[in-house]
Symmetry: C2
């Protein structure tokens, strides 16, 4: 098969981790007789520096023309202390999600046996955790009307959802639940918010189409608790944009493997794969960043975007092997163990595929 | 001194835990020569059953006339599966907050040395944690305009804040920080929400009035992570209503002492003290619920509402003693240890004051 992949390395350590994912992807392609055509494009702070906007039209066209997008990370400390600066890297992220119609953010949280002791949670709390959040990504308070009144003394944000928006996200949730343990949790704040009541009634109405799926409805505050108490009691969770932002990040730290968690954002026109970690500016250029989350995001891309399960499994297998053999960057290396460089980890993966 | 306290026992285990807090408060009053006049009033499901509304006018008048309100818990399972039922216990809670002007919810999270091993977090992560959330409680998306459009197919909620609303909450935050380690964290989502940008600019402008306080600004998703990773890195946190709902609940489970956490809601007209746990319907009437969070809420009332620090310390001391000596309800009793009844714990506290 032949694929066109848009390559958005972004800022900070983005280019370094993307580089290793490209090496591994190319090696897999070679092994399984595929051909990948990578098209790099600018996004984030580097795009602002180069052309003044964080998600240039040219980048958008490259993404639209691609079979999938592989994304690194964006963000630069020079924008950190002023969230109201007129142009910011994150705006590129939001614009990209909206323009590409990436309505479902898929965020798995699972554990690696060899890394469980890195978790802030006790082993018996985290063992066996394997959950997936589906976060709605193009609606809610992120994209509703917002502004000031009364000479700037009053601010407002509007959270809006339509029934079809809820349906398309929930459909993905039901379908995903069917491929797993058939448990779906709808996270909302239906005791307070009207949008949550729309979510809940919409999902309730869909239950009859998936009689095998057991659906529970939980309030966002209760989920924020249970994620820390009994994370392994969850399977698939669906939720709106802002709750998803908070809860997926909370979930990401419980596994002890945050530096390894991949994610996907799927939509109408294409799908995008990225590590959940950020641009880690302090490590930029040092060749020390952990590339595994990006490599595992590429595995998700092979499986979900191209339907190539064997290729994905091959990548996951070699990543597991690297963890077991301690071929890892300094964030995962034991106190007295050798820490490998970003590029050394990538080279090892390619050599051991 | 003489105090009038409105006593809102509420639903489920509310009356049982309130009963013990009253016993302890009366004993303290006697010991220190105060006089307490308790006025019981209905709220929650029991108020709906009795008079059809969850926060009757009569209850409101009793609260307004009181020096403080001691509150149990509300909620009943018969309302659980239908968040759009026309009358619900939680509406009473929201109405009460709004009508009493309880704009600041004070939620401490701290650890008891003897209970640290109950935490889902590893000991080294949780040890030394002593933080306080100030959650804005009468604004934001809870009370903004909400509804449906397009024949019910579109729902919306509005989050609104005015500068004075932010200022009065932030002022409490700065003042509280001054009495502690002088660290204040403002939690927002200023990279997305206009109300957050108002929060941030308002707090930034107040910094000069509290030159000794070190203020940090963090995004809500980052705080959701760090609360699990390094809870002891926080001191005072201020945030808006919905973020506060999620984060204070998340914080409450990390200590391993959720059943012991008190809270206060302070406002223009009066202040209200309540345990953070819920109405725990399954335990209703069994005399097994843990009364310590309510007893510690009464301690907060003595200190904060009446300015009686010594009385508060005496309550806290006897609670500590009961924990050390294992005079605890079944939720805290060790595997082979005796579990005391709710009323037995209260009796012991009174006898050992
Ligand atoms: C950078 C920010 C706008 C973004 C979001 O809130 O969606 C980020 O936190 C994320 O989750 O991808
Ligand atoms: C019951 C509900 C409306 C309430 C809230 O969201 O404020 C509760 O979760 C709380 O935190 O007191």
């Amino acid at each position: 098969m032949k694929f066109n992949i848009a390559l958005l390395a972004g800022d900070g350590i983005g280019p370094e981790v993307i580089n290793e994912a490209v090496k591994v992807s190319d090696a897999i392609a070679k092994k399984f007789n595929h051909e990948i055509n990578w098209t790099p494009a600018l996004t984030g702070a580097c795009a602002i520096d180069a052309v003044g906007v964080p998600y240039p039209d040219e980048t958008h066209e490259i993404c639209m023309a691609a079979d999938a997008v592989l994304f690194g990370a964006i963000g630069h400390p020079k924008y950190d202390n002023d969230p109201s600066a007129p142009v910011r890297p994150e705006q590129g992220l939001l614009l990209m999600r909206k323009k590409l119609g990436l309505f479902a953010n898929v965020r798995p949280t699972f554990t690696f046996p060899s890394l469980i002791d890195n978790s802030p949670l006790k082993r018996e709390r985290i063992e066996g955790t394997d959950l997936v959040f589906l976060r709605e990504l193009t609606g809610g308070i992120y994209f509703g009307e917002k502004g000031r009144k009364d000479d700037g003394e009053t601010a407002f944000d509007t959270c809006t959802y339509t029934r079809p928006e809820v349906q398309r996200l929930a459909k993905k949730g039901f379908e995903l639940a069917m491929t797993r343990t058939k448990k779906l949790c709808c996270v909302d704040k239906a005791n307070v918010m009207e949008t949550s009541r729309l979510w809940r009634e919409t999902v309730q109405a869909m239950e009859k189409d998936y009689p095998e799926v057991t659906v529970s409805y939980e309030f966002v505050d209760a989920v924020a608790m249970r994620l820390v108490q009994w994370p392994n009691s969850y399977d698939v969770l669906i939720t709106e944009n802002l709750f998803g932002d908070i809860l997926t990040d909370e979930a990401s730290v419980i596994s002890g493997s945050m530096g390894l968690m991949p994610s996907a954002s799927v939509g109408e026109h294409t799908s995008l794969y990225e590590p959940i970690h950020g641009s880690y500016p302090q490590a930029t250029g040092l060749n020390i960043a952990n590339p595994l989350a990006t490599v595992l995001s590429a595995a998700m891309m092979f499986e979900d975007a191209f339907g190539l399960k064997e290729e994905a499994e091959a990548i996951r297998a070699v990543v597991n092997k690297s963890l077991e053999q301690g071929i890892v960057t300094e964030d995962l290396a034991g106190k007295d163990a050798k820490a490998y460089k970003t590029s050394e980890v990538g080279d090892w993966l390619v050599a051991n595929l």
